[in-house]
């Protein structure tokens, strides 16, 4: 592969764009979470700092920076410090293989005697279009378990240890269901690349009289409904959100694995949780909801098409993030043994059955 300066610069631009969007997810979600929970619980929520409490995120950021950083005396210093990065790493890196816009063509530009983008260039809005795309996602998501486990263990606190053990057992159990449910979407696309998965969903499935066209989003195929449900529920379990939030379990374990963390380290866990929520939403959108595709509109391969598809992607991810918040404040926490039983005895067999089902549908030509 020949890289030249333009390729490197475009890659850096892509990284800057997607990272800046993802890093602002945490403050935005903080406001959405608190106002959304207030809405559901019929109370005002933060409304002092800025209009509608919009600057609450800023106030919280200042608070986190100014707070005293308390490290327990018996904590293992190195691991205690490194644990939040394990939580942050999967969230920040998995977004590298998710396509967030339509690939568009950049024309040659002649500015003041310089020729940019000679011969035209295709800008593919995905940071790393590797051939084993979704496997990279699973590989990095499986590292999220370490954040929880090491945080709980290195805190030298029984409650943290309890929270960590339970949370990591839950996360590795639901990883299986997550992966197998995603396989159904990959079977339909016939490729591991997420760009291929999205490209397959830009066509139309059921065309009637040239008027009624159902987009080929995977969520609209009957065989994929089960996979969609399993993947979404497993996404809740993977990000430790209610109804699967045994890692935190505020009413049971003080604060679970991040009991002993204060100020910036806690803020890193906090950010990491919201970012992995965003990443999981992005994955659900890519695998089942058509990725960046706008339904009955053929996005042109130009900058306008690219921007529109990016906005559509962000809108879909935003809707799913709100669903995350909505579910958190609606459904009570599952009991731990029921949670584990659900993961192993219900979701895993269902996900396996779903693979067979989708394969049968493909073989019969119905998908």
């Amino acid at each position: 592969m020949a890289f030249d300066t333009t390729d490197v610069l475009l890659s850096i631009l892509k990284i800057v764009i997607i990272l800046s969007v993802w890093l602002t997810v945490a403050p935005i979600m903080l406001w959405v979470e608190r106002r959304g929970s207030a809405l559901i619980q019929d109370r005002p929520g933060p409304n002092r700092v800025g209009p509608f409490g919009l600057f609450q995120g800023l106030a919280d950021a200042v608070k986190f920076l100014m707070k005293e950083d308390i490290v327990p005396a018996q904590a293992h210093k190195w691991l205690y410090t490194i644990a939040p990065t394990f939580g942050l790493l999967p969230a920040l890196t998995t977004i590298a293989v998710v396509p967030w816009g339509r690939a568009f063509h950049i024309r040659e530009l002649h500015i003041g005697g310089f020729t940019l983008f000679e011969g035209g260039r295709w800008f593919n809005p995905i940071v790393a279009d590797v051939s084993a795309g979704i496997l990279v996602v699973f590989a990095l998501a499986s590292l999220a378990v370490y954040g929880v486990t090491i945080a709980g263990w290195s805190s030298a606190n029984k409650y943290s240890m309890f929270g960590a053990i339970r949370a990591s057992a839950q996360m590795i159990s639901y990883e299986l269901a997550l992966t197998l449910a995603a396989v159904s979407a990959l079977l339909v696309a016939g490729s591991l690349r997420l760009t291929d998965v999205v490209a397959q969903q830009t066509t139309y499935n059921f065309v009637l009289f040239d008027l009624i066209k159902i987009p080929a989003w995977n969520v609209f195929s009957p065989a994929m409904w089960l996979a969609f449900i399993i993947f979404s529920v497993a996404a809740f379990a993977e990000t430790n959100r209610l109804p699967f939030d045994f890692a935190e379990a505020e009413s049971e374990l003080v604060a679970g694995y991040h009991t002993e963390y204060s100020s910036m380290k806690f803020a890193l866990f906090f950010m990491g949780e919201y970012m992995s929520m965003a990443t999981m939403s992005a994955l659900v959108v890519t695998l089942f909801l058509g990725g960046w595709d706008i339904p009955w509109y053929q996005e042109p391969p130009t900058l306008l098409g690219g921007i529109l598809s990016f906005i559509s992607f962000l809108l879909k991810v935003g809707v799913l993030m709100f669903v995350f918040v909505w579910v958190r404040w609606t459904i009570p926490r599952l009991k731990y043994d029921i949670l584990m039983r659900l993961g192993w005895k219900v979701f895993l067999p269902l996900a396996l059955f779903n693979i067979v089902l989708v394969a049968a549908f493909i073989a019969a030509g119905w998908i």
């Binding site: 018996q74 378990v145 370490y146 053990i165």
Partner: protein, 183 residues
């Protein structure tokens, strides 16, 4: 040039973390260093044009097997027991055995991996190619490995001594104070 630099960087990381695994006294730090070493190995796989294998390495080794190792280490709550002094005969046998093993390893690697030509044909290591191989040429080893895993699961269930249908209580192993003593 860039590949060379990446290779050396990650080879150094792999070796350094492997040394940490062997030499550090805290088993949890050792387990995490092994994870880092596996990560560096995955980068090696990418450099060798096998991204599928690299992702599998991280998923299976770093993401599943090492998590189980960590569980066991954390739940065992190891106390640091001072080892008795080794006798000279133990040291001699240890060194000579390790040296013999090392020499044999280098010899066989050179003979079968360095001085043997690779098979002809293009190198394709994506999911499709591996899938075809696995279900056509290597179907028998694949099934044997499945039965091996099944045997391991059945063995683990039998050894843990729980009767079928008996609900295990979650907190029994965690009554000891965790982590702080294992230095």
């Amino acid at each position: 040039m860039v590949e060379f630099a990446i290779f050396f960087l990650f080879a150094a990381i792999a070796v350094i973390f492997a040394l940490v695994v062997v030499l550090h006294r805290n088993p949890v730090v050792g387990a995490l260093s092994l994870v880092a070493s596996f990560f560096a190995l995955a980068v090696m796989y990418v450099l060798l044009d096998a991204p599928f294998l690299a992702a599998l390495q991280v998923i299976v080794y770093a993401g599943a097997i090492m998590v189980l190792f960590l569980f066991v280490i954390m739940l065992l709550n190891l106390q640091h027991v001072a080892e008795p002094n080794t006798r000279p005969i133990q040291q001699f046998l240890g060194y000579t055995g390790a040296a013999a093993f090392g020499i044999g390893l280098i010899y066989f690697i050179l003979k079968y991996a360095v001085f043997t030509a690779l098979p002809e044909g293009p190198f394709i290591a994506d999911a499709r190619a591996i899938g075809f191989r696995m279900f056509e040429a290597y179907i028998f080893p694949f099934e044997m490995v499945s039965i091996l895993l099944l045997a391991a699961i059945v063995g683990a269930l039998t050894l843990s001594g729980r009767a079928v249908g008996h609900r295990a209580s979650v907190g029994t192993e965690l009554d000891k104070a965790p982590g702080a003593e294992a230095r």
